[in-house]
Symmetry: C2
DNA sequence: CCGTCTTCTGCACACGTGTGCATTCACATC
DNA sequence: GATGTGAATGCACACGTGTGCAGAAGACGG
C-alpha cells in the first residue's frame, strides 16, 4: 500500500540502507545510484515516515502550543506568528486548547508529552501549581507567553509584556488629558497580568498626586459582557469617572457598547483606553485608544527561544533569559481632553 | 533518561510484553501483577511513546488542519470547534497555515502526509488543481470546509454553507425594506463562494423584477480595506445605491468605517448587510445585519465526517455525503427601511 | 604480485510498542 | 499417575528509518 524505503530498495535492487543514505544525500553513495534512487522515489510517490524517523533520531521537529481559546483574537494572532516562524525553521505545530479548564490543560500536556514534541509554548495561561509539575516533568523546553508562574523550572522561560508599564502609560495618558477621576476595570479574577496593570494604574495616580479610590476599581471578566456590566456600575457612582482604563480591548469594547446604548458620547463625556491592540481596536467607533502589545514579535521570539533551548539555533543557549517586552500607547478616537466638546471628525490617527 | 516499558519491565522483573499488556488492560495478565505494574508505571512517570505506538498500530489518532490564516476570526472559530470535537474523540490536531500561498499549501500537505495523520480538514481554500493531486495521493479522508474543488476525489467530501441562498436572503432583506438600488461588493477574485453569493444576489433581483446593473457590482478583497475602497467607488456613481450586500463581514465593516469618515449615517442613508456573523459583527456601530453561518456546527460536523470515513465512528461510513448547511439572516442595526430617518435607539436585536 | 587505500554497499542493530505463538506451570479430571 | 485444561508469561517478530561496522571491489604505488 504505502511505499517505504524497503519497497524502493527492492525495485532498485539495493538494500534499504543504501536507499536511506541516497535520500538523505549522503556522500557515501555512488552519484549515479543516488540520482537513480531519488528519481525512483519520486516516481513511486515515496513520503518518509516522520514517526519512524523521529523514533530513531530522538527529535520530532514538532512544537506543542497550548492556548486557552483560539476565538480570542489576541491568541489567534500569536498562534499565527508561532506557526509562521516554526514553519520557517522546519518545525510543525501541534495545537491544544484548554478552554482554561485545568483538567483539559493537563490532558493537553500529557498528549504533547506522548507525542514527544521538542518544545512547548504556553499562551495566556495562569499556570496552576499542579499543572506546573507536569510541565517540569516534560523534560523539554517550555516558553510561557504572558503567563504567570510561581517559580522557574530548569527548562522554563517566559516572555511577557510589561503590564505594569503599560498600565502606567494608559493611565498617565488619561491624566495628561486632564482627567482627575480615572477608573480601572479589572480582568478575570486573580490574574497576575491584571494585578500588574493595576499597579501601573496606581503608580500613575500617585505620580501626579491623586489619591487612589477603591470604588473606582470595578471587576470585569476580560470579555465584552464584563465591560458592559462595569459601565453601569461606574455610572451609578456618586462621582462617575471621566476616564476609564480597561484591562483589555474586549472590556473596553463592552464599555463603548454600553455607552452607546445609554446615549453617552465617547470621548466627549467619557474617555476609554484599552489594552492589547487587537485588530478590531481600530475598527470600532470611535477607534480605540489602547496599549499595543508587539504580538507577532512575541510569537516569533517564543519560537526562537524554544529552538535556542533545544540547541537548534546556532546562537548560544546561554543567552536565553526571560524577556519583558514593552507595549506602546496608540492614541485613537476613544480618548480626548477633559471637557472637550468638539465633534470628532477626520481625527483618526493610525 | 526517558522511561520506556522495558525499564518498567526490568524493575518489575517481567518481560516488556507483559508490561505492554498490563498497561493496555489486557485480561491475559494476572490481576495482581497488572495493578503492580500500573502503579509502578505511575511512580516512574511513564508516558507512552505515541510515535512507536502509531508505527505498529497504523494510526496516529491525529488530524491535520489546513487553514489560510488564523487571524481571520471566522477561521479561528472553526479551528476551535474542530479542536474541541477532536479532543472529545481522543484525537489531536496538527495545524498548518498556508497564508493562501500555493507553495506553502503543498508543503503543508506534504508535512501532514509525513506525519501520517489519519485525516485532513481544509478550511476556506480554493483548492488548486496541483494541490488537488497531493490531496488525493494522501490516501486518507479529506473534508473541505467552504472550499471549492473542481472534481471529487475518492476520499474527499465537502461541507459548505449555501452561499447562493445566503446571498439571496441578504439581498431579499434589503429589497423588502424598500431599497430598489442594491449593490454587491465582491470578495477576492475568482473565489467560488463569491460567485455563488452573487448568484443569490441576482436571483433576488430578478424575483422582484429589478434589472441587474453591472456597475452596482464593485470589487472587494474580503478584507476591511477592500470595503473602504468599494465604498468610495459606489458613492461616486451617478445613482449611488441605498443598500449594499457585502461578500463578508470584514468588507461590510470597511464600508461602515468609510461611511463614518465621510459623514454618511447608517442605516438612515445607507443599509449594509454582511456575511459570516463573526463575533465582532454585533459589536460594531451600528451592529451589523448579516448572514450567520453555523460556524461551530461546521467544524464539529467536519470532524464527525472524517472520523466516520476513517471508520472510527460507530455510524456507517456509507451515510457520508457532501453537506450543505443553511445560513440564516440576523437583522441588526446596519439595515433599515428606505428613507427611514428615525434615530436608532435601543433597537438592537440579537 | 602484494599490500594499502579509497569507494561503495550490505548486515545487523537500535528506537518503543503491540501481538501471534509457544512455553511453563498449576490444577482438575479420569 | 497420565492427560487435558486453563491461566499467565516470554520469545520473536513487525512497524519504518538511521547508522556503525565490516567487507567487497577496485585503484594505485611499490
Amino acid at each position: 500500500m504505502r511505499v517505504s524505503i524497503k519497497d524502493i530498495a527492492k525495485v532498485a535492487g539495493v538494500s534499504h540502507s543504501t536507499v536511506s543514505r541516497a535520500l538523505s544525500g549522503s556522500p557515501l553513495v555512488n552519484a549515479e545510484t543516488k540520482s537513480r534512487i531519488q528519481s525512483l522515489a519520486r516516481e513511486m510517490g515515496y513520503s518518509p515516515d516522520a514517526q519512524a524517523r523521529s523514533l530513531v533520531m530522538g527529535r520530532t521537529l514538532t512544537l506543542g502550543v497550548v492556548v486557552t481559546r483560539l476565538t480570542d483574537p489576541f491568541i489567534a494572532e500569536i498562534v499565527q506568528a508561532i506557526e509562521d516562524t516554526a514553519h520557517e525553521y522546519g518545525y510543525s505545530v501541534v495545537l491544544a486548547s484548554s478552554s482554561a479548564e485545568s483538567e483539559r490543560e493537563i490532558a493537553a500536556v500529557e498528549m504533547l508529552h506522548s507525542k514527544r514534541v521538542d518544545g512547548v509554548i504556553v499562551t495566556s495561561s495562569r499556570v496552576g501549581a499542579l499543572y506546573q509539575q507536569y510541565l517540569d516533568r516534560l523534560g523539554v523546553p517550555v516558553v510561557l507567553i504572558n503567563s504567570h508562574r510561581e517559580e522557574q523550572g530548569p527548562y522554563t522561560f517566559s516572555i511577557t509584556v510589561d503590564n505594569r508599564h503599560g498600565g502606567y502609560l494608559a493611565t498617565r495618558h488619561l491624566l495628561d488629558l486632564g482627567h482627575d477621576c480615572v477608573a480601572y476595570v479589572t480582568g478575570p479574577a486573580n490574574h497576575s497580568d491584571d494585578l500588574e496593570r493595576m499597579k501601573g494604574y496606581c503608580q500613575a495616580l500617585t505620580e501626579v498626586g491623586i489619591e487612589f479610590q477603591p470604588e473606582l476599581v470595578v471587576p470585569g471578566t476580560g470579555r465584552v459582557e464584563g465591560g458592559e456590566i462595569a459601565f453601569s456600575r461606574l455610572m451609578d457612582l456618586k462621582h462617575p469617572p471621566t476616564g476609564v482604563f480597561c484591562y483589555n480591548d474586549m472590556t473596553a469594547i463592552g464599555l463603548l457598547r454600553a455607552a452607546r446604548v445609554s446615549g453617552l458620547s465617547i470621548p466627549e463625556e467619557l474617555s476609554i483606553v484599552g489594552f492589547d491592540d487587537i485588530p478590531f481596536a481600530s475598527y470600532v467607533n470611535p477607534p480605540l485608544t489602547t496599549i499595543a502589545q508587539p504580538i507577532s514579535q512575541m510569537g516569533w521570539q517564543a519560537v526562537k527561544m524554544v529552538l535556542a533551548l533545544i540547541g537548534e539555533s546556532s546562537e548560544e543557549t546561554r543567552w536565553v533569559s526571560n524577556v519583558i517586552v514593552q507595549g506602546r500607547l496608540i492614541v485613537r478616537g476613544s480618548s480626548g481632553a477633559r471637557g472637550d466638546k468638539k465633534i470628532l471628525s477626520g481625527g483618526i490617527s493610525s
